[in-house]
Amino acid sequence: MQLKKSWIMTLALTSVLALSACGNGGGNKTGGNAAATNEGSGGAKISGSILASGSTALQPLVELVAENFMDKNAGVDIQVQGGGSGTGLTQVAEKQVDIGNSDVFAEEKLKDKDAEKAAALVDHQVAVVAIATVTHPDAGVNSLTKQQLLDIFTGKITNWKEVGGADQKIQIINRPGSSGTRATYESYALGTKTEDIPGSIQEDSSGTVKKMIGETPGAIGYLALSYLDDSIKTLSLDGVEASVDNVISGKYPVWAYEHMYTNGEPNETVKAFLDFFLTDEVQTGEVVELGYIPAVKMQVTRDVAGNVTAK
């Protein structure tokens, strides 16, 4: 019995040591372990592991495509983590992960002293997300102009009747200042950065934002197209309806790329995975299925500075 106990102790001790060693191995992870190997002469078989982290908005898509990719390539192991766009960009810039997912251009987050970090990153745009202005169904407004939206979000207009709606106080449901969705909305729907006004509500999760707009009388906010349904009212912007077709043709301006950044040119395994994202199978399959807009279908492109050009 006594002997058994000491054995258990030693076992426990070694397992703790083994575990902590594992932890270390994980912590020191670099892009290097995604080593690709070429086998056979017929089709190139790829293998290795890929670690992606970042944007929670992009996470479900990457997870679904990764599963599909792993089914096709048995030797590949892909792990997808959330954490937010900032986390993804930080980790890929420091080579802790192979792919950093982001809702915004790296140059927008890695500024000033970090600008050279952004320069080392290679952008892969895999999908587009469009954002629509939404209100509580009883607000009584169908369309707003850019200027009206700006006046609402800066607190100049505080009642729906001032823009032709019901006599009801406007309740702003905003995103936190660091949110990529907010940055996109401010750039392309309002035209400028705005400051928070007292009494506004800030939520980060789209599900919560939708629930609140549906339940709070007079609420206004913004959501990705995939979240729209009958519990909330979707507004047009300057008369242009927020629809997939209008985004693709470039008529509706409030959209952003979903980026997957690699540090330098990707190795073979990562490249194969990113290329797979742009195949028709994924672009018309998982991308559409989850409510994103295919990047390959876009008839316009946009650069970091926001300049839109026809493709």
Binding site: K5, L13, G86, D114, S178, K193, I197, Q202
Partner: protein, 300 residues
Amino acid sequence: MRVKLKNSRIEKHHIEDFVGRTYMSFCVLLLITIIVSMVYFVASKGISTFTSGDVSVSDFLFGTKWSPEADTPSFGAFPFIAGSFLVTLLAALIASPLSLCAALFMTEIVPGWGKKLLQPVIELLAGIPSVVYGFIGLSVIVPFLRNNLPGQGIGVAAGALVLSVMILPTITSVAADALASLPQNLKESSYALGATRWQTISRVIIPTTFPAIMTGIVLGMARAFGEALAVQMVIGNAPFVPKSLFESASTLTSVITLGMGNTTMGSAHNNALWSMALVLMLMTFVFVFFVRLLERRNKI
């Protein structure tokens, strides 16, 4: 033969002793290293806001303007510090009397079935994940406040209500333990003098266990101060000092959880969030200090 056996037994005993001791020292050292490095990590990251020269400590602690992403950013964290203290104090005010009554009910009024009924319920409350509290707050408390009180339901009052339910188990269990460990003869002497149950509870039991009950309350407040998710869902997160209990406000934790993932490491915004984490950690130290102080008074 016999001597040899005895020797080996002594050896076994020594080995066991050695293994046990090594394992324990290893664990203790690991624990100390983890705690020290965590404190060092948070402190070094939190201080970088001030050492980089952009923000002074007083601007940070007492500044009321928070706009980290603006072209000329300002990092005043006072609204969040005020919000944290406000919801914590309100939650403690709501939860303490309820907890004390529950503890008295369990230990003094009906120790039999009352304890059997209440104890599991309170343990259950402690085990519910905070996201569930947040969701219940959003689905039940917020609409209730919106329909019956001014404002949109979201705000300090909703946050304090959600928190008060979350800290009920902490205060109740500490208070119940203290009441149960009270020497029986104290109560018996009180009854022997002709005191009623109410007199015994209010004049003998509560005063003697007061420091222990306070310990429970401080522990509950520490939990409320550090709670993030549930509060973030119902408080509204506007970076302003609220003018009423039904207005949107922020706590330190809600701002950290909303911003941390979306900012890049080393940016001024990210550093400011770490400074808030440092404030939270220092506050935890203060709470622990108070608990220790109360524990010292606790010895009757």
